[in-house]
């Protein structure tokens, strides 16, 4: 008689979500910022997110007084 094994619970998938959601946003952010997904663009997007948290927690302009959190290109628009 065949043994019916209990169905294995997918343990990993929520962990994947926890990593995948920020990762997708990171890639999107890199793509929006520099139109490519080179490692340097992705790294830059990641650093930008750190800069944003820093500016929000430290008070605007304290960490990056010259350009705050906005993209350099945006300042060129002004």
């Amino acid at each position: 008689m065949p043994t019916i094994l209990p169905r294995r619970r997918p343990v990993a998938y929520p962990v994947v979500h926890l990593v995948a959601i920020p990762l997708v946003l990171l890639l999107l952010s890199a793509l929006v910022d520099s139109n490519n997904l080179w490692p340097t663009s992705v790294l830059h997007a990641l650093m930008r997110s750190g800069e944003i948290i820093a500016n929000a927690e430290m008070g605007p302009g304290r960490i990056w007084p010259e350009r705050a959190s906005a993209a350099p290109a945006q300042h060129a628009l002004r």
Partner: protein, 409 residues
Amino acid sequence: MQLAIGVICMVMIANLQYGWTFFVPDIQKKFGWDRAAIQWAFTLFVLFETWLVPIEGWFVDKYGPRIVILIGGLCCGIGWVMNSFASSLSMFYLAQVIAGLGAGAVYGTCVGNALKWFPDKRGLAAGITAAGFGAGSALTVAPIQNMIQTQGFQAAFFNFGLGQGLIIIVLSFLLFAPKPGQVPSGVQNANVIQSRRNYEPLEVIRQPIFWLMYFMFVIVGAGGLMVTANLKPIAADIKVDAIPVTLLGLTMTAITFAATIDRVLNGLTRPFFGWISDNIGRENTMFIAFAMEGIGIFMLYLWGKDPFWFVLLSGFVFFAWGEIYSLFPSTCTDTFGAKFAATNAGLLYTAKGTAALLVPLSNYVQQGTGSWDTVFLIAAGANILASLLAIAVLKPWRKKVVASAMVAT
């Protein structure tokens, strides 16, 4: 006692974040590096502090707070002592990564421990602990600046790094998790919905309600970050940044005033709304706070062109935003239990990092439309959506989840 130790530890790591700006001009003067390149060190600190909290929380829940705070204190000390000897940018980067690891460990442990020790005043306890992080730097701003001026930035890094690290290490021996029966079994207030079941972290992230909280944290966080982190370019674009504003007998430029008020209110709001939530319930408080944030952002959009209103409303926005650091950890622990509180709250805390990744997309919208209007409307809308989700979805859903957990146990 445990709360006081947690707050002192938070005060000790506050300088790592809030004291950094005082060192930058002198580092630049001594080595001649580009300011942006130096600030990358701080960005690395923030990233490591933010993203590793769940891992550090896991160690707290498994091995207790003492060892994690001890290692955290060591890292904080080593980071700043390394800064004092650093002569290359990569050395500064490495030092700040180590300091970020340490600060994250101390932050996650102290908040997690406060959540475990005070089930009946979880919001206030988490709020006071989180506020200690912001307020702590106020005590040491003058001594740090003084030492930088008299003995140089390297001596200040060395002495403060050593001092802060040692104090955290000593305090770590006094910190411990509550034993069964040492704390009240739960809250008596019917407004505060609390589970008696302790969910393991892997169980937590399988719960759809966790993802609702995560989503709410992300949209409120991103909405707030869009405005707060961009306040300076916004002020410059609407041409209010350099206009002097007089309030309560003080005159400063609008942007300096806003930055000063924002810092104070961002700290005060954490224990304030935490305490409110202990009394009227987490979701009711979220509804009020997030709605205030949404309305504040919308009013800033309508009246922000007047420098007086810009200062007042940016303060209001910061006040209604900072409470996410007390409301979400306490709601998470109320729902999933205290045993794995540090890891579970840490998992939710990563939503802050995710929120920060959304902000550049708002800047893209700003570039596309040529004005901040859409950004303001998106940020206000996100907060209103979160406030409605809190009262209409999270509250009844959490009641159901907690009730079913009671039946299961």
